[in-house]
């Protein structure tokens, strides 16, 4: 019995003829302590998937079970790191995290709560900024607060919805390092949604491409065996990394080509087109087709 279990999950939006099936028959099993990354193009239904896992929306068909219990709504046992941080701008960094701690550990005294929150703020290296408001922080710092908030809830599973999508490449790399070291220390089950194959390969134990919607399904699983910590610079030299990166990228670009041609994915047939030759003759443009 796996820790997280999605069985035959479907989700669509709209009614009647305007109805769009976003996810069709999603099946996924995640073991406890496993870090799974789901990669896919934007608009392929990745965010809908995380919405379902967090319980913010419910599946039309199928079931999602966490540790044998069916998910029927949102709850603090699933810590979500939203792409747009979702910090409350009227609270300080500490206040934002304390609000979460207060809900999850209602029996804590004020000083225990503070101590607990500060531990996670230090974990993301923001102890110096604990009394600042989100408006005074950079994007990377805000996302760190968001990660700290999710971890401070000590959730059974961590859901990361394109957490680094809005950040520049340098900050992104740095935060990947931080997330990896935190996840190694905390050993929590996590699902990462991303559109970046390299990010998925750096962080995850298993990478699953999402076959894009409408009617998205999960593609084949790619286990990532590289040893941790995975150093960004060294990773590029590892044949295993290069092989996986190549395979996943190939799979995704095949999908894309399939989607664009309107032909079945993975088997992109070439359209029947003939080359065209242009010839210029005495100022008059003349087009000649040779077939």
């Amino acid at each position: 019995m796996s820790f997280l279990n999605m069985k035959g999950v479907c989700k669509g939006f709209g009614q009647g003829s305007t109805r769009v099936e976003v996810l069709r028959d999603i099946n996924l099993e995640i073991q406890e302590g496993e870090f799974v990354a789901i990669v896919g193009y934007s608009g392929s239904g990745k965010s809908t998937l995380i919405q379902l896992l967090s319980g913010l929306s419910l599946p039309d068909q199928g079931t999602i079970e966490l540790d044998g219990k069916r998910i029927e709504g949102p709850g603090p046992d699933r810590g979500v790191v939203f792409q747009n941080y979702s910090l409350l701008p009227w609270l300080t960094v500490l206040g934002n995290i304390e609000l979460a701690v207060e809900r999850v550990f209602p029996k804590y005294t004020a000083s225990q709560r503070r101590e607990h929150a500060m531990r996670y703020i230090s974990m993301v290296n923001l102890a110096h900024a604990s009394d600042r408001r989100p408006a005074e922080l950079s994007g990377g710092m805000r996302q760190r607060v968001s990660v700290a908030r999710a971890l401070a809830m000590q959730p059974r599973i961590l859901l990361l919805d394109e957490p680094l999508g809005a950040l520049d490449a340098l900050t992104r790399g740095k935060l990947q390092d931080e997330i990896e070291s935190i996840m190694m220390a905390e050993r929590r089950t996590a699902v990462l949604i991303t559109n970046d194959v390299d990010e998925a390969l750096r962080l995850a134990d298993r990478v699953i491409p999402l076959h894009p919607g409408p009617g998205a399904v999960l593609g084949p699983h790619f286990p990532v065996p590289m040893a941790r910590p995975r150093d960004r610079a060294e990773l590029n030299d590892q044949p295993e990394y290069r092989r996986l990166s190549g395979e996943i990228n190939q799979y995704l670009s095949d999908l894309r080509r399939g989607a664009q041609g309107g032909v079945a994915a993975l088997d992109p047939a070439l359209a029947n087109l003939a080359p065209v030759h242009f010839k210029r003759r005495r100022g008059v443009a003349n087009v000649q087709t040779v077939s």
């Binding site: 967090s54 913010l56 709504g73 949102p74 709850g75 603090p76 699933r78 810590g79 979500v80 939203f82 747009n84 979702s86 409350l88 701008p89 009227w90 609270l91 609000l99 979460a100 809900r103 999850v104 408001r133 408006a135 005074e136 809830m153």
Partner: protein, 338 residues
């Protein structure tokens, strides 16, 4: 100096910052340009206005003499200040005389009963301003206490909003002058034991102010709560916050900038309504002052009314600034339209 700049910007006094920056040694050419734009331009506009005013005023003859220009207005403002001083001096003399009289009486007969009268002179112009301010704040307070909770409920529940919306839309555009007779009659009928510190005329004007200034706060609060960022609601849902915590920790703070924008509009409306209400309700205050001067019809009445008009404008401006500051503080670093 950095704090001076930040503070003056919080106050909405953006013209202070180029001076402060100049003193702290930032690029002088840019700061001089900023001073020219932020200080020079408004001053020039005021000068042109004063010129236009004095020329236009001198060519208009009314039954009370020519319309007062800036010079006569300043002169009357000075005269009114002298009146205030004179009235205060009279009051002081009155109390001194009373103390002496009572002391003398006690000296003649130690068991004599003395009486302490309070001075009952006519209210000075500053007293009128004070009354107006107290009234507008009382009305504004009542309006806030009604508008914010009702707006909150409207914003939270589309059902309540749907039910109340027609009422709000109909009552919102009603003029204070239409409310006044009804408020007068209702207050006269309900408010029987008239307390000395809260005369009937005060209650009437305050309630009229409240009735008219209620609407912007109500509508803005409802809008602020209803248009709350979906991300904040998601946070509340993931944390499974109970309703009371949701309201105090999520909805209210999220709506606060718009609530204060509404309160600011309300106070502005209230201040405008108050003058009209005081004129008609004969509640002591700036409105009554204007009306009395109009009825008085002396040769200086028009100049005194112009002084009152300018006072009303300056106080209205000051009130608005105060609300802008509050609005800024409630916006947590997000920009505010000044």
């Amino acid at each position: 100096m950095r704090h001076v700049i930040a503070f003056s910007e919080t106050l909405g006094l953006s013209w202070v910052s180029p001076f402060a920056r100049l003193i702290s040694g930032e690029d002088p050419r840019r700061q001089f340009r900023a001073i020219l734009l932020e200080v020079g331009l408004p001053l020039a506009a005021i000068a042109v206005f004063l010129l236009f005013w004095s020329v236009a005023a001198s060519s208009i003859r009314t039954s009370l003499g020519t319309l007062p220009g800036p010079a006569q207005t300043i002169e009357q403002a000075g005269a009114m200040w002298q009146e205030y001083r004179a009235e205060k001096a009279k009051e002081k003399l009155f109390y001194q005389a009373q103390i002496q009289r009572n002391a003398a009486r006690l000296e003649r007969n130690p068991s004599a009963r003395t009486t302490a009268w309070t001075y009952n002179g006519k209210p000075t112009y500053l007293d009128q301003i004070k009354t107006s301010l107290v009234t507008v704040f009382a009305g504004f307070l009542v309006a806030t206490l009604i508008a914010v909770p009702v707006g909150l409920v409207c914003g939270l529940s589309p059902t309540v909003m749907g039910a109340l919306n027609p009422l709000i839309q109909v009552f919102k555009p009603v003029s204070p002058l239409a409310w006044l007779p009804i408020v007068t009659m209702v207050v006269s009928a309900v408010y029987l034991g008239e307390a000395a510190w809260m005369p009937k005329s005060f209650v009437i004007s305050a309630f009229t102010v409240a009735l008219c200034s209620l609407w912007p706060s109500l509508v803005n609060t409802a809008l602020g709560v209803a248009s709350i960022d979906k991300d904040f609601i998601n946070v509340a849902r993931v944390l499974r916050l109970p309703t009371s915590t949701r309201i105090t920790r999520i909805y209210l703070p999220a709506a606060l900038p718009l609530v204060f924008a509404g309160l600011r509009l309300s106070l502005g409306v209230g201040w405008m309504v108050l003058i009209a209400a005081e004129m008609l309700a004969q509640n002591p205050g700036l409105g009554k002052f204007v009306w009395d001067e109009f009825q008085n019809g002396s040769s200086v009445s028009l100049a005194r009314i112009v002084v009152a008009v300018l006072t009303i404008g300056v106080i209205g401006f000051a009130l608005d600034r105060v609300m802008v500051i509050l609005q800024r503080l409630a916006s947590f670093g997000r920009p505010v339209q000044a």
